[in-house]
């Protein structure tokens, strides 16, 4: 047993310890700073919801939440407001966008990572980055002046004559409408989905791919059994980011969706979306009820985004679990 001894700290050691304590002060303040940054996101979200709620409350005094969400009447003159046409339009256009943009974007990424010869990679990926940098009002103008006439004169008549037995593709080809809104969103979210998918596919270890090939898999089979399952959470995340942009896109959608607050089964018909009506009517809304319902629409949009994000997260978790089980 060692005798208790007073520990004499040498001079140099004391300096070192003091320095260490200083480092600790830095550590703790750094810690606090990071907590602040982390918390600020929550605070900002909270402040937004709180502010919207404050502005929206006169609207909820005038009508109940349930009748507001389920009513289809939108009459600013009579101050009778219903949100359903806008919710419907937002969901329909975003669904069209995801249904088309995910296969195209992932296919593009697979081609670029797995198949494309390296010299042409930058040639293909550069325009993709360019697409992501175009402002949405430019997409809107392009949609209105180029895509809509094309839809009216070629695409919609063709869809109507071949798939007209479905209620989705009936009615006169206007050009403007849900289909135009959805298609413009496809172009806008494609770069997001494709570029993230590319990054995700690049992280697939080549040993996995080589193993599949060594077992006699064809190139397609290797992609299907090795690359895609390995990166599916990342691809889901890419789709989620695309969905976020699609739900909130304002300018481009309002220019091509037709801006009429009605619900139609046909994709050719004119509709409306939540962000579009807020942007259209907020600047000139003077009565407290009118500004109130617009703020309420913003809250609904917030809620939809939150809901879809949570569902997608659960989906990601379920998929990851399934994959982990399958691979063990």
């Amino acid at each position: 047993m060692l005798p208790e001894a007073k520990i004499a700290i040498p001079r140099g050691e004391a300096r070192r310890l003091r320095a260490l304590r200083r480092v600790n002060v830095g550590d703790s303040s750094y810690n606090a700073l990071l907590w602040f940054f982390g918390g600020s996101v929550l605070v900002v979200a909270g402040v937004i919801v709180f502010g919207l709620w404050g502005t929206a409350s006169p609207a909820f005094r005038a009508t109940s939440v349930l009748s507001f969400i389920t009513s289809t009447n939108w009459d600013p003159v009579q101050e009778s407001f219903g949100a359903l046409p806008f919710i419907y339009g937002t969901l329909v256009t975003s669904a069209i966008a995801l249904l088309l943009a995910v296969p195209i974007g992932v296919g593009f990424a697979v081609f670029l990572v797995e198949m494309a010869p390296s010299p042409i990679r930058p040639i293909v990926s550069f325009p993709l980055e360019l697409l992501a940098a175009i402002p949405s009002v430019v997409y809107g103008l392009w949609g209105l002046f180029v895509m809509v006439p094309w839809l009216r004169s070629s695409v919609e008549p063709l869809l109507g004559s071949t798939l007209g037995f479905l209620p989705l593709f009936r009615g006169p080809p206007l050009g403007l409408g849900y289909l135009a809104g959805g298609l413009i969103l496809v172009v806008m979210i494609l770069p997001t989905i494709a570029s993230i998918s590319i990054e995700v596919l690049r992280t697939v270890p080549s040993s996995l791919r080589e193993a599949a090939l060594a077992l006699g898999a064809t190139r397609w089979e290797a992609i299907r059994v090795a690359s895609l399952p390995y990166s599916r959470t990342g691809i889901l995340g890419a789709a989620l980011l695309g969905l976020g942009r699609a739900l909130g896109e304002t300018m481009a959608v309002t220019m091509v969706i037709g801006n009429s607050p009605e619900i139609h089964a046909s994709l050719f018909a004119a509709g409306y979306s939540l962000p579009a009506v807020i942007a259209n009517e907020f600047a000139e809304a003077t009565s407290t009820v009118h500004t109130g319902v617009l703020a309420a629409l913003a809250l609904i949009l917030f809620g939809i985004t939150l809901l879809l994000n949570s569902v997608a997260r659960l989906l990601v978790r379920a998929v990851t679990k399934g994959y982990a089980k399958a691979s063990t």
């Binding site: 003159v77 050009g175 309002t254 801006n259 009429s260 942007a279 600047a283 000139e284």
Partner: protein, 343 residues
């Protein structure tokens, strides 16, 4: 060194403040923003010590800001409602220039379209759905009107243009008044919405058989051929600066100027026209700013009117200017009247 820079900044800031002795802030309607900025720059040439800052955030924003007292003057394309005025006591409307709403169309081979109030309202109610409807062919003898569906286009964003247009339809069609009403945003019975003048023009240009409405200034600048409207006296009038100004003649203008001069009975008046207003407090709280603002308003009613027509705005007709003169003389600064004509 740092100290020196700080001192320099303070000195410069002080100098800048001293030089711009007076800054008058305003906000509101986007439609008259070009003529207002022209006025402000011309007036600044005459009074270099006076500067205006105008934010075109929309009529609704202008009304909100003058109500909250965050600006010295507001601007609106639509008169304030009773409810809005009750929240902003002492705010008066001063008409500045006039604008018109014109009807544009996209029918191949049709150069001049003539419309009566009845057919226009029937089209926007969805009752006339084809270009070769008997009502239209009767009004346009000799014109080749096709057997084509009419696609109605309207503004999707809340706007003073829509307000004037729907006010006119409500005046000429009892059915419109009962079923739809007038406002900056309404529940349209038919049609597609385009955002802004450019959005409506886009929809009309892109859709064969479309009809839509835009501001006169926008139509002139973009060389769109507008329809002739039959006015209350039964004359088909083309929209232009003269026929727009004429709309405010022969109508009783109330003392608060809150009036739509649509459906004017004057023979050469275009029927879908209206004022745009500046909103100011009847009694100005700030002595220097108040005096400068009232004198500017006087200048805008007189010398300022010559700048309107080149920018495609219709100047106020003489009787209206005379009436506004009497109103401006009643404005006060801290309770005292002002020498309105300036020094």
């Amino acid at each position: 060194m740092k100290k020196k820079i700080v001192m320099l900044c303070i000195a410069l800031g002080g100098a800048a403040l001293a030089a711009d002795s007076l800054l008058i802030n305003g906000a509101g309607a986007t439609f008259p923003a070009p003529i207002y900025s022209k006025w402000f720059s011309e007036y600044n040439k005459l009074h270099p010590d006076l500067k205006f800052n105008y934010q075109p955030i929309g009529s609704g924003g202008g009304i909100k800001q003058i109500t909250e007292g965050t600006v010295d003057f507001g601007a609106s394309d639509a008169p304030m409602t009773e409810e809005e005025l009750s929240k902003a006591p002492g705010v008066v409307h001063i008409p500045t220039v006039m604008g018109a709403v014109v009807i544009i169309h996209n029918v191949a081979g049709l150069t001049e379209l003539k419309l009566s109030p009845e057919t226009l309202s029937a089209i926007y109610l969805g009752k006339i759905a084809k270009w070769n409807d008997p009502a239209l062919t009767k009004e346009n003898p000799g014109a080749k009107l096709p057997d084509q569906a009419i696609s109605v286009a309207h503004r999707s964003d809340g706007s003073g243009t829509t307000n004037i247009f729907t006010d006119y339809l409500a005046k000429v069609s009892p059915e419109w008044e009962k079923g739809v009403g007038a406002g900056k945003s309404v529940k349209w019975p038919v049609g597609i919405g385009g955002k802004g003048n450019e959005g409506v023009t886009g929809v009309v240009k892109q859709t064969p058989g479309a009809i839509g409405y835009v501001e006169l200034a926008y139509a002139n600048q973009n060389k769109l051929a507008p329809a002739l409207m039959k006015n209350k006296s039964g004359v088909y009038v083309a929209p232009n600066i003269k026929s727009t100004s004429a709309a405010a003649v022969g109508v009783t203008i109330p003392d608060d100027y809150r009036v739509f001069v649509t459906n004017s009975p004057t023979k050469d008046a275009y029927p879908i026209a209206g004022f745009t207003w500046l909103l100011v407090h009847k009694d100005q709280k700030d002595a220097a700013k108040g005096k400068a603002l009232i004198q500017f308003l006087w200048w805008a009613q007189h010398a300022g009117q010559q700048f309107a027509a080149p920018l495609d705005y219709a100047p106020l007709p003489e009787p209206v200017v005379k009436k506004v003169e009497t109103t401006l003389k009643t404005l006060t600064v801290q309770g005292k009247p002002v020498n309105v004509a300036g020094s």
